[in-house]
């Protein structure tokens, strides 16, 4: 198996599906000749032509809405939103339309649509190129929201998302694009869209997390090993729906739970995971469910000292973990 970057895995997922299924198309700002501002779609317009890898106008409601229309009419569109921060002008089309089409039509119509967008910070992107606003969609019935944390999942989940008959928001951590590498099979495979993955097995504490923070969590977990604390790391992978059973199993087994994310905590994925644990694991818990994430400020600032202060790094995660271990 070849080792590839997270970005290459995503590109390969699209390319392979486009070769297999000519209903699949890509629509977004700069995705064509330039291949996207991060280069994720590089080379695809050359292979599939201007209509299947198409530069959109600078208008996110148009991007999502055109993909909805194309999906009504038999296509399997992949919308690219240049940065997750810029998805907001398209929110009405996503939440009022895509998410509700199957339900409101009593199953007469469905909406096979993927919306890809890079999220996350630590790349001196400042307020509007660093956000993690996935929580906004994780409360919306009718949507799937997924975040791969490694190249294998990135490709397998993207293929699954393209084949899924409902709208899938597929968020990619932009700092992972070229920094995270891993083995990616050349053959066709999919990764289920609604199952956690136990990244690291442990007995004492479980960290639930997703995206680039999975890596941070594994590093923090390893730092505790010499002290005899055995820490699980569970990659949520699907943020909507959450894999309730997968969460409950690990939480019950470990008895101590830490939820880590880059996004601010209030009314977020961390809140829901905590609420699930509260509902299902009351008699198994040895400590309060703890959370760590971004501060309650509008977004990550530009200046390095501020960006550093904002981000959860291995040190911060380790010290939170130690507090929980010692409870």
């Amino acid at each position: 198996m070849a080792v590839k970057t997270y970005l290459e895995a995503i590109r390969e997922g699209m390319r392979d599906e486009m070769r297999r299924d000519d209903r699949v198309m890509i629509f977004g700002e700069d995705v064509g000749f330039k291949g996207g501002v991060f280069g994720v779609t590089e080379g695809l317009q050359r292979e599939f032509g201007e209509w299947r890898v198409m530069d959109s106008p600078l208008a996110e409601s148009c991007i999502v809405g055109v993909c909805i229309g194309a999906a009504f009419n038999g296509m399997r569109p992949i919308a690219e939103i240049q940065f997750q921060d810029f998805i907001l002008p398209g929110v009405d089309q996503i939440v009022s339309e895509a998410a509700k089409i199957r339900y409101r039509s009593n199953d007469d119509w469905n909406m096979p649509l993927v919306i890809r967008a890079p999220f996350g910070g630590g790349v001196h992107g400042a307020l509007y190129h660093s956000q993690s606003i996935e929580a906004m969609f994780c409360g919306v019935p009718g949507l799937r929201v997924v975040v791969p944390s490694n190249p294998y999942d990135a490709k397998g989940m993207l293929v699954a998302a393209i084949r899924d008959p409902d709208p899938v928001l597929y968020f990619e951590h932009k700092k992972a694009y070229r920094s995270i590498r891993g083995e990616v099979p050349d053959h066709e495979y999919t990764v289920p869209l609604d199952r956690v993955r136990v990244v690291r097995e442990g007995r004492d504490i479980v960290i639930f997390t997703y995206g680039l923070m999975v890596d941070t969590a594994v590093q923090a977990a390893e730092r505790l090993a010499p002290d005899g604390f055995s820490v699980s790391v569970v990659d949520l992978r699907s943020l909507r729906p959450l894999d309730r059973q997968g969460i409950v199993e690990s939480a019950r087994r470990c008895g101590k739970v830490l939820i880590a994310q880059e996004a601010n905590l209030a009314v977020s994925v961390s809140s829901e995971v905590s609420a699930i644990v509260a509902e299902e694991c009351f008699e198994y818990l040895d400590a309060p469910v703890m959370r760590i994430g971004g501060p309650e400020v509008p977004a990550m600032p530009f200046a390095k000292p501020l960006e550093d202060a904002y981000l959860v790094d291995v040190d911060k995660l380790e010290s939170k973990l130690r507090r929980l271990a010692e409870y």
Binding site: C62, V66, I101, Y103
Partner: protein, 334 residues
């Protein structure tokens, strides 16, 4: 159907059969609309938003659509359009009474939230203006596959203030997509008159800015509307791109059954609207041309009334949705 003796064969090139068919569609929609208002007052329909006064443009448009081949993104006043395309009074009465067999939404949405996959009528929600962009996307897919299907999309004039209207026109025009944009311009968005909604009197003035044809038409005149829609559909089908039609119509009812327009409109305005009712004037015109006698018209009405009665009875007798079905159809099977 019996045609009066020295009848004209056509008006403006539209043959008598087509004209009579159009009148019948208009009348059928009107009678269904009136029936639903009645059921609303009787407490059997909990909400209604009417198309009365807007039938002529809708029927004229629908006549040019090939159901199941072309695509339609309608809005809530398009009762007549859905009937022309092949939906039935029974279908819409099932929706009005929120019955399980309502083909539009299974009783899940308010009445007049049209949709029918079989006929390529996309499902519509309540959020205005979103359908403009869907229409552009549908037309893009047709173009990518090299099909000659045309997509028609309708709206009120108020909804054209939304950003989605601009984004759709801009995209459809940039790629010469086969979309016909039809504004059913009744001069009001609930209570807000056009003068507070937009700076010029005609939405079609916007067309120039997108390099596409913009046409104002009397949407109560079925003949003029038929010609304008025919041209726009033909243009789209020939790959020449979108047209923006601004059809002037009256609003003969309150905004919806929850509204009372007498509280914000003058008696004169209401009266003016009534004099612009498309129905009686079209009957008279066909009568003058010897295409439709009073007897024909009465017979037509009688038949349609029977249809309404049967459909009403069927809809009333139909089952409500099962409460447990509230959980169904959120996501499909992957």
């Amino acid at each position: 159907m019996v045609v009066a003796n020295r009848a004209a064969r056509a008006i403006a090139g539209i043959d008598a059969d087509t004209l009579r068919a159009m009148y019948r569609h208009m009348l059928r929609s009107r009678m269904l609309d009136e029936r639903i208002w009645l059921l609303n007052r009787q407490g059997l329909v909990r909400f209604w938003v009417s198309g009365m006064g807007q039938e002529a443009i809708q029927v004229a448009l629908g006549m040019h659509v090939r159901p199941g081949h072309d695509w339609v993104a309608p809005y809530y006043r398009d009762l007549a359009l859905t009937l022309v395309l092949g939906m039935t009074p029974r279908d819409q009465l099932l929706a009005a009474m929120a019955k399980a067999d309502d083909p539009n939404t299974g009783g899940r949405q308010m009445p007049a939230h049209f949709g029918c996959r079989r006929l390529n009528i996309i499902t519509t929600g309540s959020v205005v203006a979103t359908q403009f962009i869907h229409a552009a996307g549908i037309a893009l897919a047709s173009k990518i596959r090299g099909e000659d299907a045309v997509t028609v999309v309708t709206t009120g004039e108020g909804a054209t203030s939304e950003g989605d209207f601009h984004e759709a026109l801009n995209f459809a025009a940039t790629h010469s997509l086969a979309v016909v944009f039809v504004v059913e311009d009744n001069g009001l968005a609930i209570s807000v008159p056009t003068s507070k909604q937009m700076p010029t009197p005609n939405v079609s003035d916007r067309a120039t800015g997108y390099g596409i044809p913009g046409v104002v038409v009397d949407g109560t005149d079925p003949v003029a509307s038929y010609l304008v829609c025919g041209e726009a559909v033909a243009r789209a089908r020939a790959g020449k791109g979108p047209t923006l039609i601004d059809a002037k119509v009256p609003r003969l009812t309150s905004h919806s059954s929850d509204d009372d327009q007498r509280r914000y409109r003058t008696a004169e305005a209401l009266e003016t609207d009534r004099t612009h009712d498309c129905l009686g004037r079209f009957a008279a015109r066909l009568g003058e041309q010897g295409m439709l006698s009073a007897r024909d018209e009465e017979a037509m009405r009688a038949k349609l009334l029977a249809e309404m009665d049967v459909a009403t009875a069927q809809a009333e007798a139909a089952s409500d949705p099962d409460p447990e079905s509230v959980l169904l159809h959120v996501l499909g099977d992957a």
